[in-house]
């Protein structure tokens, strides 16, 4: 039964993606702290870099150990998919190992152990290379996913195999750059909220005040800029790509059941009713969606009624909710960060407790927004693995029984619960210990 294979992949990738999003965003912020220290020689910037390096290291370990099963699962659970498309997606996945993981792992050890051995400039450089490695990894994964969303540069042989026809097309894929930038800025949102949240925590506890203020300030600035960039222009580009290349997905994620004569409304709230093919309790604003998508208030947008059932995603409510949760949270992040940035500018942010509490407790939500964002991409691509060409049901391993898959799924659930618990304990301990106290 394909259900367990899909559930296992969804579960393991969801759990895995908790870690890389922080790794990618945080590596950028660590490089920033280290660079500030080199420029100003003010100790607190170096403390910040070293403190977040500890959190980064725990996070990186988790990312590696939960990442290896992802590569293996292509073969173990999706053997037919691997056999048919390995000649293409194998390229980008192998390049990830070659150009990203080697870089990242070579210099991470040096960054962690080497500050005293190498001196400050080289230490900054190793940190920068770790950042470069982790973003390169994002690039190759997005290139792989972009090909699945919008296949290019391929040829299909008589035996059904997809083989590469044009290598550079994989990287000039119109899907790739918008998706990559959207994803990377979203990972910066996560790290910015983590940094700001730890800062708010220290200020509220009246502990490590100087570091707390630095974390809060840096987190808010990075958070404001990145959450704006996630929405515009990158989120906008992605939505336009979906409308152009996957119109059925677009109708489903926006919740448009019926095609209107002219001008489609944008749905803010409502629950998809799949029996009556309508949204219950709908709140919508007329014509906005047409304008956002085509800059034309009256342009027609094709609804789900115009597609055959087998062309539509197979779980429309889940897709619709994922999309609306992502967009809703993204909007809330912009609002809160604008408010926080205003008080930061007034130099009063650290005294306003309600905002500090909000920022502190907001930390799970960028994770949710990132993960629901990926759900939009993956549920939206259904029922295909390779959009329009290879169905998900055709990609599964032909010889692995569902009893075996359920066994390994249960094992992963148990193991990852343990990992999650350990992760929380260790990060909690690191935050509790705090950065090195400042000597006056």
């Amino acid at each position: 039964m394909i259900f367990y294979d899909r559930l296992q992949f969804a579960f393991t990738i969801t759990f895995h993606y908790i870690f890389p999003q922080l790794t990618m965003g945080l590596s950028l912020m660590i490089v920033y702290f280290k660079w500030k220290f080199l420029r100003t020689k003010i100790q607190k910037y170096n403390d910040a870099a070293l403190f977040f390096m500890k959190i980064f290291a725990i996070n990186f370990t988790m990312g590696v150990v939960t990442g290896i099963p992802m590569e293996f699962q292509f073969g173990t659970n999706w053997a037919k998919f691997s056999e048919l498309t390995g000649g293409i997606i194998g390229q980008t996945l192998a390049m990830e190992g070659m150009f990203s993981f080697f870089l990242e792992s070579s210099f991470l050890a040096l960054f962690i152990f080497g500050e005293k051995l190498m001196g400050q400039k080289l230490h900054f450089l190793t940190g920068f290379l770790v950042f470069l490695g982790s973003w390169a990894s994002g690039w190759f994964i997005l290139a792989t996913n972009a090909w699945m969303q919008h296949p290019v540069g391929y040829e299909i042989l008589d035996n059904g195999k997809f083989v590469l026809e044009n290598f550079s097309a994989l990287f000039t894929n119109p899907w790739l750059i918008p998706a990559f930038l959207h994803n990377q800025f979203a990972s910066v949102v996560t790290s910015a909220f983590v940094v700001a949240s730890i800062g708010a925590f220290y200020i509220l506890r009246n502990k490590n005040l100087e570091h707390g203020k630095l974390f809060l300030k840096t987190g808010v600035i990075f958070g404001l800029v990145s959450s704006l960039l996630v929405a515009f222009p990158t989120g906008d580009w992605n939505a336009k790509n979906v409308a152009k290349y996957q119109p059925a997905t677009f109708a489903a994620m926006e919740g448009i059941f019926e095609t209107e004569e002219a001008g489609a409304e944008i749905v803010l709230i409502g629950q998809p009713n799949m029996v009556e093919k309508k949204l219950d309790n709908k709140i919508a604003v007329p014509n906005i969606l047409s304008f956002l998508t085509y800059q034309d208030w009256n342009k027609q947008i094709v609804g789900m009624d115009q597609f055959k059932k087998e062309e539509l995603p197979d779980n429309i409510p889940a897709l619709y909710y994922s999309y609306h949760i992502m967009v809703g949270l993204g909007t809330i992040f912009i609002g809160i960060m604008l408010l926080a940035a205003f008080f930061l500018w007034k130099k009063r942010l650290h005294t306003i407790k309600p905002i500090l509490w909000t920022i502190m407790f907001l930390v799970p939500f960028p994770y949710i927004a990132n993960i629901t964002g990926w759900y939009v991409a993956e549920l939206g691509r259904q029922p295909y693995l390779v959009y329009g060409l290879l169905k998900t049901s055709e990609g599964v391993s032909p010889t692995v029984s569902s009893g075996n898959t359920l066994f390994t799924l249960l094992g992963f659930v148990g193991l990852y619960m343990l990992l999650g618990l350990l992760f929380l304990i260790l990060v909690g301990k690191t935050i509790h210990q705090g950065p090195k106290p400042i000597k006056h």
């Binding site: 370990t61 150990v65 290896i68 195999k161 391993s397 032909p398």
Partner: protein
């Protein structure tokens, strides 16, 4: 091109077993010989500094296999479903054991993660050996029963074991008496390799004792090696034909036996790096001899209906392979640069090195 990629991937995976092999071996030594806390700590550190760098070789090898030989990748990974997933779980326990042992200064906490690191290293060594045994022995491709294939001719599925534990039944399991011997050989080889690594990298108080341990393990290894060749002859009487047909392949067993006999002089050899080089030869020779014995087949078929998987019938097209040839050259050059920088900055014994977290 197929041959080039076959060699590259074999090389990457061999390097993985040399590098991560000393980690597995260190784990085994840690489990049985490191008794004092000071030794435990430094031995764990000898493995812990670079485990993620070492692991990347596995990920890179896997990615290249996926790209160059997708049919083989799909067939083997789904066919060995359970053992592979169990290996993944063990990799997780091994890594968190190493990373988390020093996070709390509490004897119960470190004891838990030391055991996790030790046992998972031992089982990983065993499973990788068993995997090699399976590749050499071959599988029932197509799942043939009564002369009829149950699956497409290049797919199969193996249970963990068959109740007879015999490699000669129609549906042998992953673990049978032949593959388990190869598994034990892997454990012994990697334990030797781990011991030479600990001697090279640390000043632990067990280092003196380890010379004897290596010597004794080496005797066991010699016996097991001869035993495995005999058993292999029984399982597959044609198993050595490839060496007769392609005499140049004999270089690989020679490498193995150079390492094996060289290590008998361990008590005379002063330099630890020579010992480490010898145990490295064991690994290189062991893997390459096994692969050479079936070359150009990469997964033999145990039935007469479906043909074996070779590097030629599982590869992607020439265009894909040659494009990848270009970027892999660039990648290797970069990698060499990283390694040179790494070795320059972090050389010598690691006892004093500050473990940052």
């Amino acid at each position: 091109m197929e041959l080039f990629w076959y060699i590259i991937i074999a090389l990457v995976l061999t390097i993985f077993f040399i590098l991560d092999g000393y980690n597995f071996g260190t784990g085994i030594i840690h489990l049985f010989f490191a008794k004092k806390e000071k030794d435990k700590k430094v031995v764990a550190k000898a493995a812990g500094l670079f485990w993620d760098f070492n692991e990347v070789w596995l990920v890179a090898g896997g990615g290249m296999l996926f790209m160059a030989f997708p049919t083989f990748y799909a067939s083997v990974f789904s066919g060995f479903y359970l053992p592979l997933i169990i290996v993944l779980w063990l990799i997780v326990f091994r890594a968190i054991g190493l990373e988390f042992r020093s996070q709390f200064n509490n004897t119960m906490w470190t004891a838990i993660w030391d055991t996790s690191f030790g046992i998972s290293s031992l089982l990983l060594a065993l499973f990788f050996g068993i995997a090699l045994g399976n590749i050499v022995r071959g599988v029932n491709l197509g799942g043939v029963e009564n002369e009829i294939s149950l699956y497409e001719p290049h797919y199969f599925f193996l249970p963990l074991w068959d109740s007879s534990f015999s490699p000669l039944t129609e549906h042998p399991g992953v673990i049978d008496y032949f593959t388990i011997i190869i598994g034990i050989i892997a454990v012994v080889t990697l334990a030797i390799h781990g011991a030479t690594w600990i001697r090279l990298k640390t000043n632990a108080s067990i280092n003196k004792k380890l010379k004897n341990v290596i010597f004794n393990l080496n005797i066991v290894l010699l016996v097991l090696t001869i035993f495995s060749i005999v058993v292999w002859q029984i399982v597959n009487p044609n198993s050595l034909d490839n060496f007769a047909k392609r005499p140049y392949l004999i270089i690989f067993p020679i490498i193995y036996f150079t390492g094996l006999f060289g290590l008998f002089f361990i008590k005379k050899i002063k330099k630890d790096s020579y010992n480490f080089a010898l145990s490295t030869l064991l690994i290189i020779g062991g893997i390459t001899s096994s692969l050479a014995s079936i070359f150009p087949v990469i997964l033999p078929s145990t039935n007469s209906i479906n043909e074996s998987l070779t590097i030629y019938n599982t590869a992607t097209t020439d265009y894909g392979l040659s494009v990848a040839f270009n970027w892999v050259i660039i990648g290797v050059i970069l990698l060499v640069i990283y390694i040179i920088i790494q070795k320059r900055l972090l050389k010598g014994k690691i006892d004093k090195m500050d473990y940052g977290h």
